[in-house]
């Protein structure tokens, strides 16, 4: 058991170190996210009532697009230098190793997205209820994107172009987007958001239990 925790930690730490040593991908995807969000106030003018209604949705769409960009990198360097084969060949369960990589992706990508979104919300003067709903949906939704996206990243790794990855991820992440934006709309009208929160939490638990299994078996198929 201790051995498993240890190997999980080793892989997790390795991915964090790699991300922070090679900052360009990490910084680029976050910069991309911020730029997309900030394009909208420029084009729609800075009327705050309009922004209040559309900015949370825009933050969500930008997060989704930035996820597509960042997920391409999650397995790419491992695939290129062949270390992914070592992951598959060693005696530890592959599901565990893949989960460590996904967790590392969420820590290095999902959490910065949440922090930046809340900061942008303050700058663009969103109301408190909307900020709260945005925070809850992002903290439940971004791990779902990392989990789902990692499966797609495995399926498309080494194939040319990141367009294919986006085409696979975007339709499957629409339910998350729909529930999140409904929650934010309800919050802006002062309605409870419990139902949508439960739905997102349910999807998250489903993704935590199934996505690593799917990613591991996809990895075996890709390297067979």
């Amino acid at each position: 058991m201790l051995e498993y925790i240890n190997i999980f930690y080793v892989i997790f730490k390795r991915d964090l170190t790699l991300t922070f040593r090679e900052k360009t991908d990490f910084i680029n995807s976050l910069a991309f996210f911020i730029i997309i969000v900030l394009l909208f106030p420029l084009t729609f003018g800075s009327k705050s009532e309009l922004l209040n209604t559309i900015i949370p949705g825009i933050i969500w769409i930008s997060a989704l697009l930035a996820t597509c960009l960042s997920l391409e990198t999650i397995f790419r360097s491992d695939f290129e230098d062949g270390s992914i084969e070592q992951l598959v060949l060693n005696r530890y369960p592959l599901i565990l190793l893949v989960s460590a990589k996904i967790l590392a992706h969420w820590i290095t990508f999902g959490i910065p997205i949440i922090v930046i979104s809340l900061t942008l919300g303050v700058i663009l003067s969103l109301s408190n209820e909307i900020m709260m709903a945005l925070f809850i949906t992002l903290i439940l939704g971004t791990p779902i994107l990392s989990l789902l996206g990692s499966v797609m990243a495995v399926l498309t790794m080494g194939l040319h172009g990141s367009m294919l990855l986006s085409i696979l991820i975007l339709p499957l992440s629409m339910p998350v987007l729909i529930f999140s934006t409904i929650a934010i709309q309800n919050a802006s009208l002062g309605l409870p958001i419990v139902a949508e929160t439960y739905f997102l939490a349910g999807i998250l638990i489903l993704a935590i239990t199934l996505a690593p299994i799917a990613a591991a078996s996809a990895l075996r198929i890709r390297l067979s």
């Binding site: 797609m152 399926l155 696979l168 975007l170």
Partner: protein
């Protein structure tokens, strides 16, 4: 039993069977298509509420059903090929995808044409329309993934994982009109209850459903045959067949 499965799984056997079957299935398709269209467009009375525009149901409902059915076929054969590595299910999944995408597209287009006189708009963002649109994109993603690999075995199994994840969308589409009360009307036919439709309208609809199903099988067999020839281009029976 196992012998039969093994035999059916062999591409040569499937090829021979499909050559013999597809003619008869095509005849059933043609007869039920003509019968269903005549019954639906001429014999059936106009709807008391929707007038003559309800008649598009004879294309819309079968197409929408088939869009779900074909997806389930792909998902089922994907699961089978992941578990048992049967070649023929790879081929069935691969050959079904473009047909299923076309059915989905047809369902969306006929729905939009029906929506204009009934709802006053071609498109609304309600649950069923949105989830059907997602289904179309799932099909397109599957086809794109299939064409990205040069090795067809790996393509089939990678596609199977994608389709099995997307299968969660199917119950959402099916029950969306019951879970959320939206602009889309409720189901016309449910298997357990008495159908909410008169017999003269129902029989052409069932004929059209039969026609769409047999059309799917016919096109599937034709597509699968050419896929088999491509898969098995190295084996001796294909050479014999092509030379003959």
């Amino acid at each position: 039993m196992y012998k039969w499965i093994h035999q059916f799984g062999s591409p040569k056997y499937f090829y021979d069977i499909s050559v013999r079957l597809s003619k008869w299935i095509a005849i059933v398709c043609a007869i039920s298509f003509i019968g269903g269209l005549y019954g639906g467009l001429v014999l059936a009375p106009a709807d008391y509420q929707q007038g003559d525009s309800f008649r598009i149901i004879y294309l819309h409902v079968p197409a929408a059903w088939m869009s779900l059915f074909v997806y389930l076929v792909i998902a089922f054969s994907g699961a089978v090929s992941l578990i048992w590595h049967i070649k023929i299910t790879d081929i069935i999944a691969r050959a079904s995808a473009p047909i299923g995408a076309s059915f989905t597209f047809l369902a969306l287009v006929t729905g939009a044409i029906w929506g204009k006189p009934m709802w006053g708009t071609y498109w609304v963002w309600d649950a069923r329309l949105t989830s059907e649109l997602i289904l179309l994109f799932l099909y397109l993603g599957y086809i794109a993934l299939q064409s990205a690999f040069s090795d067809k075995r790996i393509a089939a199994r990678a596609g199977a994982i994608l389709v099995l994840i997307g299968v969660i969308n199917i119950p959402i589409i099916h029950y969306s009109v019951e879970w959320w009360s939206t602009l889309h009307q409720g189901p016309t036919i449910s298997k357990l209850d008495k159908p909410s439709i008169h017999l003269t309208m129902l029989i052409p609809l069932l004929l059209m459903v039969l026609a769409f199903k047999t059309f799917y099988i016919t096109t599937l067999l034709i597509r699968a045959r050419s896929e088999i020839l491509e898969y098995e281009y190295n084996s001796s029976w294909v050479k014999k067949y092509v030379i003959k």
